[in-house]
Amino acid sequence: MALTREQMAMRVARELEDGFYVNLGIGIPTLVANYIPDGIDVMLQSENGLLGMGRYPTEAEVDPDMINAGKETVTARPGAAIFSSGESFAMIRGGHVDLTVLGAFEVDQNGNIASWMIPGKLIKGMGGAMDLVAGAENIICTMTHASKHGESKLLESCNLPLTGAGCINRVLTDLAYLEIKDGAFHLKERAPGVSVEEIKSLTAGKLVVPDHVPEMTFEA
């Protein structure tokens, strides 16, 4: 069974370490915040200038001057810092964020990522994604393994215009958890009930499969 969006977020959350500064993109990455393991404290960075993003506000707390990079109203946790966009991207570009989680249309075996533009479709812009992938040393891409039509999104070489070159080292799809190194996807884990063969058939890029590929487990 392919992972649900929530399971994908849960699996990514296991990569969090205590004391990590983390930037979570829009979509599944945002859900990761709901599954931070017990005993682990992470600080969420929002690229519009907030380090230490808190929960959504109550109705009474809503403040138009307090939003996140998705333009949602948010709160700041105690000990948060708020700063300019220039400072925020100094942080990001300078490699000070420990982990970035973001979605993608395609990734390839050389760590290239395409996530912002589909030629012929309306382009809304890259926002901070290009800065994030260029600045972070530790990036997890969350995406479906293949399109609805069964076309792989884990490629030998990205077809779409890139967001960043050679910058992705981990991918979590609905079918598998993989690492990218030495020009190949390395299969690390598979979704419960998903066979190695299925993953192989849906991975267009070079795939390295070890003898044993553990199945992910999720508590009920």
């Binding site: 109550t58 939003i67 333009k71 966009s85 570009r93 309306l122 890259m126 926002g127």
Partner: protein, 233 residues
Amino acid sequence: MAGFDKRVYSYEEAMDGIESGMTVIAGGFGLCGIPENLIAEIKRRGVKDLTIWSNNCGVDGFGLGLLLEDKQISRIHASYVGENALFEKQMLNDEIEVILTPQGTLAEKMRAGGAGIPAFYTATGYGTPIGEGKEVREFNGRHCILEESVVGDFAIVKGWKADRYGNVVYRDTAQNFNPMAATAGKITVVEVEEIVEPGELKPDQIHTPGIYVDRLIQGTFEKRIEKRTVREG
């Protein structure tokens, strides 16, 4: 004696001198911390062929989106231009030129422009369409592209409090692009919610020192919320 009193008392005076064809750098992120009334004044004046530098272009009918209604913007440098049907239409009809710029590069271009740094290298955008046609150079084993900075004819900025010398403090995430924009205008106009006496702001807690500010006006703000997300509480 005017001295360092930057106050003006009408939006007309605040935007005096803006002309068609000029470059305007705007603070704000989404609809947060945008110079609402300065934008409205630009609309009122009907100047055209503007080049805008701003992270976003507002929404239909609010923020910089207002300037689309009469096609006042010819060109915009922005990182994200969604949430705006009129914008999409003008873009598809080639009525507006969009130079998409990574958000951090956009912020740094403004900061560098204000700081007298004409150009800088960054890894952001290398190997992507953004890097095409730009000089590539390797530093410490990483490919970087050369990005040039920007100075605008006007910068329009939204602050929270300021003293009449133009020392500005921003509030929470309404800060965003405003401090960079404030440094990068040949004429920088700041609108704020409150003007206080010199000495009321702690000197070492000022976000934008008054040297960057040419005109200061106190206004009232709608502060529209783009995505109201709440929890039970």
